[in-house]
């Protein structure tokens, strides 16, 4: 089946994808296809010269994004995408450097780099894909897992508070901060475009389904169910102080542009 799908000769984004690497490794129902799609469409609309755009990823499911995008692309070590991107940007300021990585990569093992890049207002754009869990390694609890949510290492429910990523990076000094879910593709694309064109440190958090692990363990068994949850529970509150945008288990998801 997959062979038939990927043998289709033309896709609107073919020029920006490493087609020879398809099919990708992401599970059915995963939100990462939506994220890559939104990024590439935003990139085209931004009119940036694609030869002057580099993508840097860390490790994890989202970390694989760099490998599918046909730009100069770097799949680095776990958590270190942001400092790698910082060095790349400083060495060649002509480049637009975009980090695409997951919540575990950016907020746990790379958390120190995240806040320091925001503090020094590094001129890079970060797309932080937050699926509430470590997907690649089999669904373990992470720094963004909502309290009480079940994972393969918190089967009785997570006992720790999660990071509120927009609040964290806004407090650290980021120039542009937004959050959307994969259910608001139009607004997500617009936001990524704004982030790409913003001078300084910009971050877009993208809440994205992981039905294989997060959904399965928390009564949202398919990507579709997770998308319906996002659709029914997202509330746009652009301009609010992101400290009021904390995410609770199965609760409302405050989305919008918080800093611009």
């Amino acid at each position: 089946m997959t062979a038939v799908i990927y043998d289709r000769p033309v896709h609107a984004l073919d020029a920006y994808l490493r087609r020879e690497r398809m099919p990708h490794i992401w599970c059915p129902g995963c939100g990462l296809g939506i994220v890559v799609n939104a990024f590439l469409r935003s990139l085209i609309k931004s009119r940036l010269d694609p030869d002057k755009v580099a993508v840097v990823s860390g490790i994890g499911c989202t970390g694989r994004a760099a490998g599918y995008i046909k730009l100069d692309s770097f799949h680095t070590t776990h958590g270190r995408a942001i400092p790698f991107a910082t060095g790349l940007k400083l060495a060649n300021p002509e480049l637009k450097v975009v980090v695409i990585s997951g919540d575990g990569d950016l907020a746990a093992i790379g958390g120190n780099h995240l806040i320091h890049a925001a503090r020094r207002n590094a001129d890079i754009t970060v797309l932080c894909v937050n699926n509430f869990i470590y997907g690649m390694t089999g669904g373990q609890v992470g720094p963004t897992t909502p309290m009480t949510a079940r994972t393969t290492t918190s089967v009785g429910g997570n006992i720790d508070e999660p990071f509120n990523i927009p609040y964290l990076v806004a407090a650290s000094g980021a120039a542009y901060v937004a959050r959307w879910t994969t259910a608001q593709v139009g607004r997500l694309e617009k936001s990524i475009r704004e982030a790409l064109l913003k001078k300084g440190f910009s971050l877009v958090e993208i809440i994205s389904p992981c039905p294989t692990y997060y959904g399965r363990m928390n009564k949202q068994r398919t990507g579709l169910e997770q998308m319906k949850y996002y659709r029914d529970n997202s509330i746009v509150k652009s301009g609010i102080d992101p400290k009021h945008a904390a995410i609770e288990f199965n609760g409302q998801i405050i989305v919008g542009r918080f800093v611009e």
Binding site: R18, D51, A66, H75, T76, L88, A91, N92
Partner: protein, 371 residues
């Protein structure tokens, strides 16, 4: 000037235009001087949040087309092992200076050690080969920092300069030659258009030409095992091809990389083999022994990795013993012993760090063999 300052000047002479680092004794003076010097030559200095980030930024800068370096000491060197592996795997030219201090852990921050030598060789996980140079004076820190950049650009890998607190903080006269007298090597660039370019297809010397980001080649670079296109290849065959090449490109070019200083090895009954500050002290002991009529040769390792295996084996058939003074509990002495293949005895002269050997200790070791 100090050894640390000479190191920074060597980097500037070599064309280094990016430094990312984190303060650490006894290497901080390198960062301090680079923070002053780089803006004068349109370069960039950035102080990162830790050594993980420092080396990550250096690798990023190298892919941005700029010669880049960092400098640290043991605790920071430990943190850099992660991205050292990424640098090896992605064949990223850069220079890492380790001004060694007493260890393990926080150890003796202001005092010398040479106990990171095996970490330099094997510290990051996996099979790989590395290049490490060991200067014995501020002048040589200047010279070898330039050589480290040249080797890293030529062979596309991180190159280590392994010095120690005593040399880094030593003040001596350093001659900086005119710019046109310094041999500078630039990385090989692709000569084919982007559609024909395979970023990890090596030339005959096993080193692939390197494109930088922003040149239109749209390279993919990954720490995963990859094929010639740079794409992940999760097979034993791809692993075999890649890992063998990463090792072979160093080992098969070792004749070009290895540099040793030999003195009086002909008919030497005993050979003192050492490096860095310990070699400097050894020289005094060798001279004293010669005055007493003992036939002692001196082999100073300027390149420590790759190890001058063939030369040591050769010498081992012509001498009774190797005396190996070093500021650790025996690291390079194990290599000497391995390469001597039992032909000659190996006598380590260990100093645990915090100072340097006294020539007497080395002299005693020389005489112990003659008893």
């Amino acid at each position: 000037m100090s050894g640390d300052d000479a190191c920074a000047e060597g980097a500037i002479s070599a064309g280094c235009r990016f430094f990312a680092g984190y303060p650490i004794t006894p290497a901080s003076e390198i960062a301090e001087r680079m923070s002053e010097r780089l803006p004068e030559v349109a370069g960039t200095y950035i102080q990162m949040e830790d050594e993980l980030a420092s080396l990550a930024a250096v690798l990023g800068a190298s892919w941005g087309g700029v010669k880049a370096m960092t400098a640290t000491s043991g605790p920071g060197f430990s943190l850099m092992m992660e991205n050292l592996g990424l640098g090896i795997m992605t064949e990223t030219p850069c220079v890492i200076v380790d001004v060694q201090r007493g260890s393990p852990s926080t150890g003796l921050p202001t005092l010398s050690g040479q106990a990171d030598m095996m970490q330099a060789r094997w510290g990051s996980h996996g099979s790989y080969s590395i290049i490490a140079l060991a200067p014995d004076s501020p002048q040589e820190l200047y010279n070898l920092t330039i050589r480290a950049f040249n080797l890293s650009e030529k062979y596309r890998l991180p190159v280590l300069v392994m010095t120690e607190a005593a040399t880094g903080h030593m003040y001596e006269k350093v001659m900086i030659p005119p710019v046109n007298e310094i041999e500078i090597v630039q990385r090989r660039r692709p000569v084919v258009p982007p559609e024909e370019y395979l970023p990890f297809q090596p030339d005959a010397d096993k080193v692939p030409p390197m494109a930088s980001a922003g040149e239109g080649y749209r390279v993919h670079v990954t720490g995963l095992t990859h094929d010639e296109r740079g794409y992940p290849a999760m097979t034993a065959a791809a692993q075999d091809r890649l890992v063998r090449r990463l090792v072979d490109k160093v080992e098969q070019n070792s004749h070009d990389i290895i540099d040793v200083e030999e003195d009086g090895l002909e008919e030497a009954e005993i050979v003192v083999c050492s490096y860095g500050i310990s070699a400097r002290v050894s020289r005094i002991a060798v001279e004293q022994a010669r005055e007493e009529g003992i036939r002692v040769g001196m082999l100073r390792l300027i390149t420590v990795w790759p190890f001058p295996e063939a030369r040591i084996r050769e010498i081992s058939t012509q001498t009774r013993a190797f005396i190996v003074p070093e500021i650790n509990y025996g690291q390079i002495s194990l290599e000497v012993e391995r390469c001597a293949c039992g032909n000659a005895m190996t006598v380590p002269v260990s100093h645990m760090g915090g100072g340097v050997h006294s020539p007497d200790e080395i002299l005693r070791a020389i005489k112990s063999v003659l008893k």
